[in-house]
């Protein structure tokens, strides 16, 4: 088994403020996980707001360097520095999908511009027909076609279509890994499902691994193979998605699951969370603890 992505003891610390009153924020602390090259999977990252999910994704994309530890992609270190050729080679392997489809395209420019540039750059061709073919193929994969997209501006498309164009663009270089940071948080339920189903079919049919960052436990349960749960920069639980979500063990994971709004008692206005749970989860913030493997394959952070 070869590894595709290896995240090794990665930490990221930000320094904020000027010369006076400097403050450091530990955005990510000791993150450790790896994805295998042979078994494409949807690897989900869930966690509280500000727990370092986006920071972790940015480090994997090589947009930010870890303060400690290293990230290896196919055995090579991911770094913010390095030549343009090297960067392009890396980008053809790892592509992002952004949160807000309306923000991901320059509103003043046509949508196809991004697809075309990607095809030209990463397929290293300037043959018009070849570029068009690559664009069309990628768009077909997400249920669109070049004919529908050509000549359109972002505001002439719905959010779901735009998000699919963004995914199609990311697929042009045939990358083995996609990083999707909250790709569905801005779209409504029905669009959400069409995008989530798309990610699923990318994994099953095209063998693309996806790192899926979300606040939505239900879609995570629905599509992901493994997941990690983060609290204040630390991974607190990691393992098979269904095992973890069916029966979370870390206090924060439990709180997370208990906080998911259900539609079972629609109209009854039940919103109370067990204060004991909130306290149990809150008390652990700031404690280091360590991840311990459990018999069912998951790892849970235990303290003291």
């Amino acid at each position: 088994m070869t590894t595709l992505l290896d995240v090794r003891d990665v930490s990221k610390r930000f320094t904020m403020g000027g010369i006076f009153g400097r403050k450091t924020v530990d955005a990510v602390m000791d993150a450790n996980f790896s994805l295998s090259a042979e078994n494409p999977e949807i690897f989900t990252i869930i966690g509280e707001s500000g727990s370092g999910k986006t920071t972790l994704a940015r480090m994997i994309l090589g947009l930010e360097d870890p303060s400690e530890g290293e990230i290896l992609f196919r055995g090579k270190k991911v770094s913010r520095h390095g030549g343009r050729a090297e960067k392009l080679a890396f980008m053809s392997q790892v592509q992002p999908v952004f949160q807000n489809p309306f923000e991901a395209f320059n509103p003043l420019k046509k949508i196809e511009r991004y697809l075309e540039s990607t095809a030209r750059r990463f397929l290293q061709t300037s043959d018009k027909a070849a570029i068009d073919r690559a664009m069309d193929e990628a768009l077909q994969k997400v249920g669109l076609s070049l004919k529908e997209v050509r000549g359109r501006f972002p505001h002439e498309m719905s959010g779901g279509q735009l998000q699919r164009c963004a995914i199609a663009r990311a697929l042009i270089p045939n990358p083995p890994l996609l990083i999707a940071d909250e790709p569905v948080s801005m779209v409504d339920a029905s669009l959400r499902m069409s995008i989530v189903n798309l990610l699923k079919s990318l994994r099953d049919d095209l063998k693309v691994s996806v790192i899926y960052i979300t606040h939505d436990l239900a879609t995570a349960y629905y599509i992901s193979n493994r997941l990690i749960i983060m609290q204040r920069g630390r991974i607190v639980e990691m393992g098979d998605a269904r095992t973890v979500l069916d029966n979370p063990q870390h206090p924060y994971s439990k709180l997370l699951k208990a906080s998911v709004l259900s539609t079972d008692d629609a109209g009854d206005g039940k919103l109370a969370t067990d204060p004991g749970m909130v306290k149990a989860a809150g008390d652990l913030v700031g404690q280091a603890g360590e991840l311990v493997a459990k018999p069912d394959g998951r790892e849970v952070r235990v303290y003291g």
């Binding site: 966690g47 509280e48 707001s49 500000g50 727990s51 498309m157 719905s158 959010g159 779901g160 279509q161 909250e182 948080s185 801005m186 779209v187 409504d188 339920a189 029905s190 669009l191 959400r192 499902m193 069409s194 989530v196 189903n197 606040h215 436990l217 239900a218 879609t219 349960y221 629905y222 269904r242 979500l245 069916d246 709180l255 997370l256 699951k257 906080s259 998911v260 709004l261 259900s262 539609t263 079972d264 008692d265 629609a266 109209g267 206005g269 039940k270 919103l271 109370a272 969370t273 909130v278 989860a281």
Partner: protein, 342 residues
Amino acid sequence: MAEDIVKVEGLKAYYQMNYFGVSREVRAVDGITMTVRKGEVYGIAGESSSGKTSFIKVLAAAIRPPLKVVEGSVKFDFKNGPIDVATATPKQIEAVRWKHLSYIMQGSMSVLNPVRRIGRTFHDFAARPMGLTGKAFEDRVIAHLARLKLPPEVLKAYPHELSGGMRQRVTIGLATVCHPEFIIADEPTTALDVVVQKEVLSLIRDIQKEMNAAVVFVTHDMSVHANVADRVGIIYAGRLVEEGPTRDMFFAPKHPYTAHLVASLPRIGDVKQRPALEGRPPNLADPPQGCRFHPRCPLAVDKCRQEVPPLEQVGPDHRTACWRWQDVKPLVNASAPSGVMA
């Protein structure tokens, strides 16, 4: 049944634009009639760019060009007298803003001025309507913040120094500090984690109960409506297509779009393939004839393509705008995981 606090009748509000010869009209709100009662939470759902925010802007009397009310009225019945915000003068609106009618805008950052401390923002918004100054004002604000579980220090902080959840609570504090009778909240919990989301929602609910205010709550997340709203209205392409008590909307929807929205919610413990709605939302500058949902509707018949279905009463408190409402079946029983019937 409680009295109405606001009556919206035949409201049409369009974005009318004329930019160097290109004139356009976006019919964002196209004939909405509804009421909100005293002391209830009314949820508004609908997909992106269906006109939710535009409708809310009219309700909140935040009508600014290019948005224009073309027809209809929005009559509030406040303690200090009735007012029609669709035609009121800025001065009349000023008199009810914050004290009677408050608005939590979409995107908390757009309300909080990034270069002003929170305390200053509170002062700007609330000092005049409350008629308090100096120490008395500050004490009231601090007491109010304490109820939202915010320490007094936040008054000295800049918005970017607070976490997303704290910022959201600050905006709720701003909207409720004057004890208004009517509170409007536009997507107050999108992009928060579920723990914080729940906290914020129960806060809104508690405050609403405590002050017996009416709340209009907008979000595209149906599971949020399931838990906070007393009644839910669904907006599709600028029109109200269904409205009813929350429970009925989830368990016995009478419009295909609502049925779809409810059924598309995935849940933990369920890995069935969920249907996604095909097609795309209509262009509000050139909406389809007849029922606006017809290009995407599985039940559409010829009549739907020509005639606009009226919003008709189909049960107690339940209205829907569909020619074939009798044929609408809940798609998947969203509420009942296999075998466990509520």
